[in-house]
Amino acid sequence: MKRVDRTNLALMAVIALFAVFALGLLFWLKGRFEREREETIAAVTRHFSPAVLGLPDDLERTFRFADLEQIYATLIPHNAYVRDIVVTKRIAGRGERIVLPFQYSLLHADWQARLSRLERHPLSSGDIEYGAIYFDFDHSRLNSVRLAIGSLAVLLVLVLAVVARRLYVQEAALTRTTVELEEKKRELVELERLSLAGRLSANIFHDIRKPLLNIRLEVEEIEAAGPAAEDLRGRTAAIRRQVELFFNILRDLNIERFIRGDQAGAEFVSVNELLERSCALVRYERGGVEVVANFTPNLPPVYAFPYRLMQVFSNIILNAYQAMGSQGRLTLTTLQEGGEVVVRIADTGPGIPPEHLPRIFEPFHSTRQNSGGSGLGLYISKGIVEDMGGRIAVAATGPEGTCFEVRLPVGRAPSDA
C-alpha cells in the first residue's frame, strides 16, 4: 500500500513540476507578446506626430495622404500584433476626421460605430489632442498562448482529479476488503465453534447410547425377573418405550453418522428416500410450513454418497424454512428427465435479490449475516453435487418464491463415465 502511495505521489509530483514549468513558459511568452504589442503601439503612435498630422487649427501645414500611406505601408503589413490601424485628425470646428485610410469613411457608412469597437489611442501634444489612432489588434498569437495556458491548467486539473480518484478507489477497495476479511474471520470463528459443537454432539450421542442401553437392559431384566406390582410394571414399560423411542430416532436419522460426516463409500440410493430423511433431519426448523411432496415413484437410483446428498438437501430445505419464516409452503418434486434425476425444492419465500443471485454459490456469501448464516452451505452443496457428476442451480426466483434444482446422473458410477 505504501508503495502504491509513493508511486502515485511521484507521478503527481512529476505532473505538477511539468505543469508549473509549462505554465511558467507560457506566462513568459504572454508577457513578451504583451510587451512587444505595447512597444508596437508606442512606435506607431510616434510616427503620427504633430509634425506629420498638424494640430487641429493647423490646416495650412497639413499632412499629405501620400506620406501617411507610406508610413502605413511601412508599419502595418505583416505586423504580428496590429491587423490594421485607422488614423484620425482633429480639425478645428469640424471634429475628428479619418485621414488614414482615407477611404475608410467612404467604404463604411457606420465608420463611427466601427471605430468605437477598436482600441483608441489619442494623439496629444501637451493639452491638445490633435488626433487618434484606432488599433485593430491581431490577438491570434496572444490568444493561442492564452488557450494553451487554459488547456494546460484544465489538463492539470483533470490529471490530478484522475489520480485522486484512483487513490480514492484504491482506498475504498482496501477498506472494503479489510472489513470483509474481518467479517469472514469472525464467521470462521463461528464456524469453528459450530463444528466443535457438532463433533461434541456426536460424542455425546455416542456416550449416552451406552447408559441408555444399560437402562434398557436393566428394565428388561426387571420385567424378566417376574411379576411385579402392576404399578411398577407399567412404569418400567414406559421407561422402555422412551428408550426405544430414542434408539428409533437415532436409527431413523442416522444422525450420528451425519454429524460425523460419514465417509462411507458411494452407493446407489433412492432420491425420494434421501429427501424424506433430509426433511426429517431438519423438521425442528419447519414451524408452520406446509410440506408438499410430489415424488415420482420408482425413480431410478443415483450413485451418490447418501449422507453428503442429505447434507445438500437438508441445507436447501433449511434455507427454505428460514426464508419463509415458519409460514408458507415447501414443495419437493422429483422426476426423471432423460438420463437425469431432477429434484426441485421450491419455497414461497421472498426470493433472492437479483444482486445476490450471481454470488449465492460463492463461499462466505450469505444474505443472513446477522442471523447465523455461515455463507458456506450452498458453496459446499455445489461442490458435493458436482463431485457426483451433477448440477445445482436456481431454477427460478422472485417475489413468489425460489426454486432450487438439483440434477443427478441416473445410476452411473463415476467409473462408468
Binding site: 512606435a43 490646416l59 467612404l106 467604404l107
Partner: protein
C-alpha cells in the same frame, strides 16, 4: 513595433534623406555645369555620369509631385536611356556637349528662373504655367497626355473642377439652366472657408477656377487655401471631409474611387459645382535652337523621348506632338488672372 519594422522605417527615412540630398546635388551641380563659365569638376559628382570636360546637356524638371507620376527615378532611367544611345551621344558631341545631366528644380519659381537665366536648360519637363511664365527661348515639342486629358491635333487639354463633398452646404445645391451652381454662391464659400487646391501654379487646380470666378466679377481669392501638391491629394482631402471644397483636375476623383474600389456612386460622395475651360497639359520644351525642325540633335532627342515613353509609360501618360500656339490661351488667361488679382488686391488695400 518589431525591430524589423523599425529598421525598415529607418531605411526608408535614410533613403528619402539621400534622395533629397541627391536632388539637391543634381540641382546644384546642374546649375554649376550649365553655366557659360569654363567647366570645372562637379562638387559632389552624384548627378552626372560619366564626367567629362564638356558641359552636359541639361534635362530639367520640377520636384516630382508637380509632375506626378513622373518621379525622380523615372528621370534617372530616362537619363541613362539617352546616354546609352550612341548616335545621340555623337550628336551631343557635335554640339559641344558631354553627356546628359539632370537638373531637379526645387519648385515652380526655381524652375522658371533656371529656364530664364543663362545658360538655361536644354530640355525641360515643366508645368504648363511655368512655360507660360518664363521668358526664355524655348519651343514646345510635346505635351503630356494623361488618361483624363482631351483634345487632339497638337492641342491637348485638361479641365479643372471645383467640387464639394456630401457634407458641404453646396452639395446638390440648386442649379441654373446650364447645370452650373451660381458662381456667386460658390465664391462665397471659396473665399470664406478652407479650400484644397493643387498649387499656386497649377492651371486646372488653382488658376482657372479662380479665373472663372474673377471673370464673373467676383473677388475669389481663397481665404484659407490649402495647397496639397497634387490633384489626388485634393480629392482625398475633400472626400475625407478634412475640407469641404477643393479644386483639381477633372477625372481624378473618378480614377481614385475606381482605384480604391469604392462602390458608392461618385454623385453620392461629391458634387462638381464648376468645370473650368480646358487648359493645356504640361509641355516638354526644347531650347529653341534644338527644335526638331532646326537641329539634328533635337530630332534625335524627340525620337528617343517618343521611344522611351512607348517602353516606359508611367501612369498611362503619353507624349503628343504639340507647339507653342497651344499655350497662347493659357498665357492670356494667366495674364488676365494676374491683372484681375492685382486690381482686386489694390481694391482690398485701399
Amino acid at each position: 513595433m518589431s525591430r524589423e519594422q523599425g529598421n525598415s522605417i529607418a531605411k526608408v527615412s535614410r533613403r528619402r534623406a539621400l534622395g533629397y540630398l541627391g536632388a539637391w546635388a543634381v540641382a546644384t551641380g546642374g546649375g554649376v555645369f550649365a553655366g557659360e563659365a569654363p567647366p570645372s569638376p562637379a562638387p559632389h559628382g552624384a548627378a552626372f555620369e560619366p564626367m567629362s570636360s564638356a558641359r552636359p546637356f541639361t534635362l530639367g524638371f520640377i520636384r516630382p509631385e508637380a509632375l506626378e507620376p513622373l518621379s525622380a527615378t523615372w528621370f534617372r532611367r530616362l537619363q541613362r536611356f539617352l546616354d546609352s544611345d550612341v548616335p545621340f551621344r555623337e550628336a551631343l558631341k557635335r554640339e559641344g556637349y558631354g553627356s546628359v545631366g539632370l537638373v531637379a528644380a526645387e519648385g515652380f519659381n526655381d524652375l522658371v528662373r533656371r529656364m530664364e537665366v543663362a545658360p538655361g536648360l536644354d530640355c525641360v519637363f515643366c508645368p504648363a504655367l511655368a512655360y507660360c511664365r518664363q521668358v526664355g527661348d524655348y519651343a514646345v515639342v510635346f505635351q503630356l497626355r494623361g488618361p483624363n486629358d482631351r483634345g487632339r491635333d497638337k492641342y491637348i487639354f485638361q479641365f479643372g473642377v471645383i467640387l464639394v463633398n456630401r457634407h458641404h452646404p453646396l452639395y446638390r445645391a440648386p442649379r441654373s439652366r446650364d447645370e452650373q451652381v451660381p458662381r456667386r454662391l460658390i465664391a462665397r464659400h471659396f473665399v470664406s472657408e478652407p479650400v484644397a487646391l493643387v498649387s499656386p501654379y497649377s492651371a486646372a487646380g488653382y488658376v482657372y477656377p479662380c479665373h472663372e470666378l474673377f471673370k464673373a466679377g467676383i473677388r475669389a481669392v481663397p481665404g484659407q487655401p490649402i495647397f496639397c501638391g497634387s490633384s489626388e491629394e485634393v480629392v482625398k482631402m475633400v472626400l475625407s471631409d478634412v475640407v469641404g471644397m477643393g479644386a483639381c483636375e477633372q477625372g481624378v476623383a473618378e480614377d481614385l474611387l475606381r482605384r480604391y474600389a469604392i462602390p458608392t456612386p461618385p454623385e453620392q460622395l461629391y458634387d462638381v459645382l464648376l468645370t473650368t475651360p480646358g487648359s493645356p497639359t504640361d509641355p516638354v520644351v526644347f531650347r529653341r535652337r534644338f527644335s526638331p525642325d532646326r537641329s539634328e540633335l533635337g530630332r534625335r532627342l524627340k525620337d528617343l523621348l517618343g521611344r522611351f515613353f512607348s517602353a516606359d509609360r508611367p501612369g498611362a501618360i503619353r507624349l503628343e506632338d504639340s507647339e507653342d500656339s497651344a499655350f497662347a490661351a493659357l498665357r492670356a488667361a494667366w495674364n488676365e488672372f494676374e491683372t484681375l488679382s492685382a486690381e482686386t488686391d489694390a481694391l482690398e488695400t485701399r
